[in-house]
């Protein structure tokens, strides 16, 4: 994030008048609540924040905030956020995505955003399903989950986003649950403040296509360990946990990406000289 005089703000200062398209009971309402609480806690003026997203239920979130928003094409939100942050390092950039947008069609950008380590916060609302297109399996869907597109289940091992993030170089890896908006807000604040690429996976139930996910509230639990800065230890924890450990699971010290700068500026017209005969 960028240092500025904190304002006295309320979460409602960051909410727009646009009515969400989400189903009643969708976990994303709580993510929006957590996000606006995080913004209020940071005390940044709304116009100093940009929320960038792709396509999917979760990606509708920018317009529901009073910040600058960018709702682009499917899977490319991290690329837009990267370009924006590098061009405008003074703006606090939050990138929002879902499991289809972020882990499937946008999977390559996820790897390289972790590796590039631009100072962004990346929040992924993971409900293990494509909700907007009405219930197809996503990379995090369980192998035996029955859908019209994959009758009887995909038979595929789910993608493990936190392990992938760690292996790809993310500087901050956390898991949150939308049903705990206060804790989720704290994790988002932490992610925004932490330098470099900070990844927060938010378990956010889809009550329409995954009513079974109502049980998540009983399955989630705070991680029984303190955050580590040792990637090997973090990898072991992430690969062996039950998928419901909440909290900061890795906190690295890698310096964020900074573009090269010139020792001295020159006038653009002077660049013609190299071609002169």
């Amino acid at each position: 994030m960028n240092a500025a005089e904190p304002l006295k703000c309320r979460p409602s200062d960051y909410k727009s008048e646009v009515k969400p398209i989400w189903c009643p009971g969708c976990g994303d309402y709580h993510v929006l609540m957590a996000l606006t609480r995080a913004m209020a806690a940071l005390g940044l003026p709304p116009e100093r924040i940009a929320v960038v997203s792709g396509i999917g239920c979760s990606s509708r979130i920018p317009a529901y905030t009073n910040c600058y928003g960018f709702h682009g094409v499917h899977g490319r939100s991290l690329a837009v956020a990267t370009g924006l942050k590098i061009a405008r390092p003074d703006i606090t950039v939050i990138c929002a995505s879902g499991d289809g947008d972020g882990y499937s069609i946008g999977g390559n950008h996820f790897l390289h955003a972790c590796r590039r380590n631009v100072d962004l916060a990346y929040i992924v609302m993971d409900n293990h399903i494509y909700g907007m297109t009405k219930g197809q399996p996503s990379p995090t869907t369980e192998p035996d989950f029955d859908t019209a597109l994959a009758p009887g289940g995909t038979g595929l091992r789910p993608f493990n986003p936190l392990v992938v993030a760690l292996a790809s170089g993310a500087n901050f890896v956390a898991r949150a649950y939308s049903g705990n908006p206060n804790e989720t807000a704290e994790l988002i604040v932490d992610a925004i403040k932490h330098p470099g690429f900070s990844f927060v996976e938010i378990l956010s139930p889809c009550v329409t296509y995954r009513p079974d996910q109502r049980s998540w509230k009983d399955r989630v639990h705070p991680a029984p360990v303190t955050p580590t800065d040792d990637p090997a230890r973090a990898a072991r924890r992430l690969m062996t946990d039950d998928g419901f450990n909440l909290g900061v699971l890795y906190r690295g010290h890698r310096a964020p990406y900074t573009p090269p700068t010139a020792a001295a500026m020159v006038a653009p017209e002077s660049l013609e000289e190299e071609f002169e005969v």
Partner: protein, 574 residues
């Protein structure tokens, strides 16, 4: 007097490590130092390094924009795989062949050249191991051209300065020996001398010119994914953007590079990426996003042979269709095609200004020939009109980012501006940017985006129009120079033709084209595609006269001026 009457074309061929490409560059540089103009292209085998190579040069008294009908001089340092260049190096009876008798039989294409000058490269380099074969060839070619020896030696000294005075001396001695070894009586190819040019001149490639033009047009952010033949643009921008306070970032793929520049431009920074056909195909979805969200971006497409991977190192004009029609939905945008190496500079600067002023994506449609040809040219003096983005300052509230009406260009709020926060959206949206699926908003925004482009006054840069005749030749891009020279050749035969070459391919300019075609009874369309894409584009958008013919060929073989002349003479407009 036309350039064609005062130019000499030289081809040099040799196998990997023979230094053919370096030799070509040095000959162009020396000719340029002696006051001539010129054009250099290269042709290489498929190997990444060390394959057979050809330097193809045309040196002239005045600037040239295309290769000539045939080569006057072929210098073979050796003949390993040289036959592969047969189609690219047309020779005639008056052509001169310089070769080493010890190198074996020349390739079939050399059979046309009846005048042969021997250059005993193997014999000389055996006696003088420090002398390089390519320096002998350079000296020989320079001598046959009548190039001032001091200009050549100056270039050698500059090129090898870092390697020390001994290396410089050996190479100068080798060039001098090459000059002495050839007998000019057996074949003269000398170029008429010129007085030292007074105007400032550039030695530049089209890719460098595009990059410089974009930078002068205000581009300060670039995202890069390497692709032949566009990487040169990005490699030039990487250090030079930094020098002017901008940034280049390497993306993981073209989907990322185009979205990175959309993000940067949304942040208020004029942005560009450069690619070729396969990359443009990947970027197309996001070009639609830039259109719908009204984010200005510039994409340079340096066309190569297609479809699919095609011929990465050779030129073609076959990305016209995707550049014009590639996007789904009705997606008005800008397509601008440079017509010469020097024009790459002007077109890129113009495209950047238009994209910014009209808040729309602009495709600069260059090609491998323009991009990688190096020319010595008079520094262009014409500056294109500059364009600036109209930005919101929070004065008119409530802020409606996509307010329709007026000229269709609505002020864009830049993140950081208070009271103007909005969400840019690829979904159909209201004037405030809120997603909607209503018919009224959909039509209103489609109208807005069409009208802002169609209603803009583009001025005379929209096309190059030269001459007056009942016959017109319509061409675009790098074929413009070929057609100009073909028309000049036909004029010598008493046949006239008018040249009409649109630089602005989109939005189309029906009224301006009608004016350009007034009184024209027949049209010849010239293009480098297999599928006649330009002809079909013209037929779709413009009223052409009844009599239309087309001269078209896909890459990699260039269309040459005499083919245009021939078609004009057959068409018979006297």
């Amino acid at each position: 007097m036309t350039a064609g009457a005062n130019s000499v074309s030289v081809a040099m061929v040799g196998s990997g490590g023979a230094g053919v490409l370096t030799t070509g560059e040095m000959l162009l540089e020396a000719a340029c130092a002696a006051g001539w103009n010129g054009l250099l292209t290269r042709s290489v085998g498929p190997q990444i390094r060390g394959g057979e190579a050809a330097s193809l040069l045309r040196l002239a008294r005045s600037p040239v924009e295309c290769m000539a009908d045939q080569f006057d001089l072929l210098v073979g340092i050796d003949w390993v795989n040289a036959g592969r260049f047969g189609d690219e190096i047309p020779l005639g009876e008056s052509s001169v062949l310089v070769c080493d008798p010890a190198a074996g039989a020349p390739p079939p294409m050399a059979a046309n050249a009846k005048r042969v000058i021997e250059l005993p490269i193997a014999e000389i380099t055996k006696a003088h191991p420090a002398w390089r074969a390519n320096m002998l060839a350079l000296g020989a070619a320079g001598h046959l051209l009548g190039l001032d020896e001091s200009a050549l030696h100056g270039v050698i000294a500059k090129r090898f300065a870092a390697k020390g005075s001994e290396v410089v001396a050996a190479n100068v001695a080798a060039a001098a020996a090459g000059a002495r070894a050839v007998d000019t009586e057996r074949g003269r190819v000398a170029l008429a001398p010129v007085a030292q040019a007074a105007a400032k001149r550039w030695l530049i490639t089209g890719n460098e010119a595009v990059a410089l033009g974009a930078l002068l047009g205000g581009v300060r952010f670039a995202a890069a994914y390497p692709i032949t033949p566009a990487s040169d643009i990005l490699e030039w921008l990487a250090p030079n953007l930094t020098k002017v306070g901008g940034t280049l970032v390497q993306a993981e793929d073209e989907l990322a590079s185009v979205n990175m520049i959309i993000g940067a431009s949304y942040g208020g920074v004029p942005s560009l990426t450069a690619t070729s056909g396969p990359g443009l195909s990947l970027m197309i979805e996001s070009l639609g996003l830039a259109t719908a969200a009204e984010v200005p971006i510039v994409i340079v497409d340096v066309m190569r042979g297609g479809p699919s991977t095609g011929i990465p190192t050779k030129s073609e004009q076959s990305d016209l269709n995707i550049a014009i029609y590639g996007m789904h939905g009705d997606a008005p945008h800008l397509v601008i095609a440079p017509q010469s190496v020097g024009d790459c500079w002007l077109s890129a600067q113009w495209a950047t200004g238009l994209a910014e002023a009209l808040q729309a994506p602009a495709i600069v449609l260059s090609d491998q020939f323009l991009g990688q040809a190096q020319t010595a040219i008079t520094r262009p003096v014409e500056r294109p009109p500059t364009g600036k983005r109209r930005v919101a300052d929070g004065a008119n509230l409530p802020y409606a980012r996509y307010a329709a009406g007026g000229d269709g260009v609505s002020p864009m709020a830049i993140p950081g501006t208070a009271r103007c926060a909005y969400t840019a959206d690829g979904l159909t949206h209201t004037e405030r940017g809120t997603p909607t699926s209503g018919a009224h908003d959909h039509v209103a925004q489609l109208d807005k985006r069409r009208d802002k482009l169609d209603g803009h006054e583009y001025g005379p840069l929209w096309a190059t129009i030269e001459g007056d005749s009942e016959t017109a030749v319509l061409a675009w891009g790098s074929l413009t120079g070929v057609v100009r020279e073909g028309i000049a050749q036909a004029r010598a035969d008493g046949v006239s033709a008018k040249l009409i070459a649109p630089r602005l391919l989109l939005p189309t300019r029906p009224a301006e084209m009608s004016a350009a075609l007034a009184g024209v009874k027949r049209v010849l369309v010239v293009e480098q595609t297999h599928g006649m894409q330009f002809l079909k584009y013209l037929r779709a958008h413009y009223d052409l006269p009844a009599e239309v013919s087309v001269l078209h060929r896909p890459g990699p073989l260039p269309i040459r001026p005499h083919e245009v002349r021939q078609r004009l003479i057959e068409g018979g407009s006297r």
